[in-house]
């Protein structure tokens, strides 16, 4: 290599570095602008929620101006006077149980469909999907009757059992796609090393599918947490027993009939959203972590 050639390459590199720098700066600006738009889109309504929850009494009705008070924490006090902590507990228990059951049962089924020899897989998938397609409101009358006979009304079981069955299809679909995406060589290698199919699943496949598992877990948790129709029918009233958060919020009343307690509703909403974001973030961290730690080469 001649010295001249080396030099041209040097300057070329330098020049391109300068170009890259200005390009990155431009890109950084674009990115910041994009982030601003996203924050506005996602958080503006939430900001409205917070401001409204801080307006005392009915001042939210008098003016749409977010910054016009009087402000105070009275609504939050009202929310916790109504046993809202018990509702949070119930929702946590029901959504938690649903998540565990769904992930365990769904992983097994997803692995079988993605990896093990089963006949009529497409038919099986269609059947599984079909489970979640019936109009929910039409599920209520027959299930209510059944639940009444089985004594499942106003119990945690009465909620997490149907939640599990109706969320399983989504779980299985998510997990199946993730299991299917994992290179087969890894599993085969484990088997060559003497692992049983069972071990291969637990030691190799499941950890590699961690992003999928955690994505599924958040989705299950949130949908169980937010479910309204079944919860409102099967455990409608008693917060001591199994009444969940959305049901409780929907039943807030004003001080007199007809009055809609918009302050209390928004306050409760804020109270619920914060722990949910923490849970979702904790799970979501695992999705991202899946890549860095679980390098696909095993």
């Amino acid at each position: 290599m001649s010295a001249a050639a080396a030099e041209t390459r040097q300057t070329g590199r330098r020049r391109s570095r300068g170009a890259v720098e200005s390009a990155t700066r431009g890109r950084a600006w674009a990115k910041t602008a994009l982030l601003a738009v996203i924050f506005l889109w996602c958080l503006a309504p939430f900001f409205w929620l917070i401001m409204t929850s801080l307006k005392v009494e009915d001042s939210a009705l008098n003016s749409p101006d977010l910054f016009q008070g009087p402000f105070g924490f009275k609504n939050y006090g009202n929310v916790f006077e109504q046993n809202f902590d018990l509702n949070l507990r119930n929702s946590l228990a029901v959504a938690g149980m649903t998540t565990i059951l769904c992930v365990v049962i769904g992983s097994l089924a997803g692995y079988a469909i993605a990896r093990l020899p089963l006949r009529g897989k497409i038919l099986l998938l269609t059947g599984i999907l079909a489970v979640s397609l019936f109009p929910p409101v039409a599920l209520v009358p027959p299930l209510y009757e059944l639940w009444l006979k089985l004594g499942l009304l106003n119990t945690y079981e009465g909620l997490y059992i149907p939640y599990t069955s109706f969320t399983l299809p989504l779980t299985i679909f998510i997990l199946t796609t993730f299991f299917a995406a994992i290179p087969k060589e890894l599993e085969e290698a484990a088997k060559v090393d003497g692992a049983t199919p069972f071990k291969a699943f637990f030691r190799v496949i499941l950890p590699l599918a961690a992003p999928g598992v955690f994505a599924a877990a958040i989705i299950i948790f949130v949908s169980a947490w937010n479910e309204f129709l079944l919860a409102n029918t099967f455990a409608p009233r008693d917060p001591e027993v199994a009444q969940t958060v959305p049901v409780a919020i929907s039943q807030f009343t004003g001080a007199v009939d007809f009055q809609r307690p918009i302050g209390n509703i928004t306050a409760a909403c804020v109270v619920v959203t914060i722990p949910m974001i923490i849970v979702a973030l904790a799970f979501q961290k695992r999705i991202i972590a899946g890549l860095t730690a679980g390098s696909l080469k095993g």
Partner: protein, 424 residues
């Protein structure tokens, strides 16, 4: 391998946490109402007043003081009437004796009785009929039989701004004239009411229709008297009111609370609303409105008298109750005991059904006005198919008054719905 262990730990931690939680709070206290506790009653009623701090609870406490053998507890139903009905229906359809006394909206009487869910109250008719308001009483009977005891009633008021209007209008046309003129001057809306597509819209529409002289059924509900021409005129009136700015902006998306929001923030000259708003506007409206408003009877098209649709709740005895005698005693007591009925008005500003209470409370403007309008107020017919009729009315009349459908065709659809209700 390390990752799999980590994942495992995570799952186990979450699982353990949840299980502990689930175990720690497994329901244990729900057995006590299953015990066949001799005289205990359960009163399934919803809304703000059924809450622990509400007047219904105070009424229950009073009953329990006087009847320690048949204590009553409230099973609090949701705020919205539709949901209250749904929950009662679930329990009743399963034939459960969970509820003894049912707080029923005035329009459910026919449906519940037809399904065999209610105990007839014919044997206590004489104790109730002479004491209570006629309209409220009519809402509790169907097919000539008494199925519930009236508990509280409700009627529409015209709220108006005294700083903008000298005299409350007596006809709807006069109202619209003022609404448009003053609204334009002040750059605010005219009349706000309940124009969203829901039961409240039917109530508002009926008030216009009735005040034009329309009828729905004859005396014993055996014959339909629905007047399609009058109905068309009514819908056209609303349509024009929308177009001309007689109705305030947002009329067609307003329920009670949106109406109150518009009025108490000074965005409307007039409001049609229930009495509940009277105290709230004084307490919470912007000062200009809180100090400068008054209530009047709703106008009519003829300028004579006043018409309002009745709201309110009755108390019925469940046919599956295991303690019907005590339940019956309770509903009669709640309808006719002066102390109870007065509590409704004084503690909660809920319009009572007992006639004598109104004589006592003539000093309170809202109660005085109620005693003036209630004798002319009409209940929506508590027919078994009222919900079907109401849905048909909403489906047909809402688009018509919003200019998306022909008012005359809409009237025909509604007429069909009424005719069907009688054929069945």
């Amino acid at each position: 391998m390390r990752r799999s262990k980590q994942l495992g730990k995570w799952v186990i931690a979450v699982a353990a946490g949840t299980l502990v939680l689930a175990a720690a709070c497994t329901p244990s206290g729900d057995d006590d109402d299953e015990g066949s506790g001799g005289g205990e009653l359960v009163w399934a009623i919803g809304g703000a007043e059924a809450q622990p701090a509400g007047v219904d609870q105070k009424i229950a406490d009073l009953w329990n003081e006087q009847n320690p053998d048949n204590p009553i507890t409230i099973e609090v139903l949701p705020d919205e009437a539709d949901q209250q009905r749904e929950q009662q229906v679930n329990v009743l359809q399963s034939g459960s004796d969970e509820f003894d006394v049912l707080g029923t909206d005035v329009i459910w009487t026919g449906e519940y009785s037809q399904n065999g869910w209610l105990e007839s109250l014919e044997d206590v008719r004489d104790q109730i009929e002479p004491e209570v308001l006629e309209g409220a009483f009519n809402s509790a009977q169907w097919d000539g039989e008494l199925w519930a005891a009236p508990f509280n009633t409700n009627a529409g008021f015209l709220y108006y701004r005294t700083d903008l209007v000298d005299q409350p209008p007596e006809t709807w046309d006069e109202l619209c004239q003022i609404a448009e003129q003053v609204g334009q001057q002040e750059d605010i809306g005219g009349l706000i009411g309940q124009g969203f597509k829901y039961e409240g819209f039917v109530v508002n529409w009926l008030e216009y229709y009735w005040s034009a002289g329309g009828e729905l059924y004859n005396e014993d509900n055996s014959e339909v008297l629905f007047d399609t021409d009058l109905a068309t005129q009514t819908t056209e009136f609303m349509q024009n009111a929308m177009d001309d700015g007689c109705f305030a902006p947002g009329f067609n998306t307003a329920t009670e609370e949106e109406g109150r929001a518009a009025f108490q923030s000074g965005k409307a000259v007039f409001m049609r609303n229930w009495p509940y708003a009277y105290q709230l506007i004084q307490d919470e409206g912007v000062p200009q409105v809180a100090k400068n408003f008054d209530i009047a009877p709703l106008p009519t098209f003829t300028g004579e008298g006043t018409i309002s649709a009745l709201g309110g709740f009755n108390n019925a005895v469940s046919a599956y109750s295991s303690n019907k005698d005590a339940a019956k005693e309770f509903v009669v007591w709640a309808a006719t005991d002066p102390e109870v009925q007065k509590m409704l008005a004084t503690v909660a500003s809920v319009p009572p059904v007992l006639t004598s209470v109104y004589d006592e409370l003539q000093n309170e403007p809202d109660m005085a006005l109620l005693s003036e309008v209630l004798p002319d107020a009409k209940p929506r017919p508590p027919a078994p198919t009222w919900n079907t009729i109401s849905v048909e009315m909403q489906d047909a009349l809402f688009p018509a008054y919003n200019g998306d459908a022909d008012p005359a065709e809409a009237s025909d659809t509604v007429a069909d719905a009424f005719n069907e209700s009688v054929e069945e």
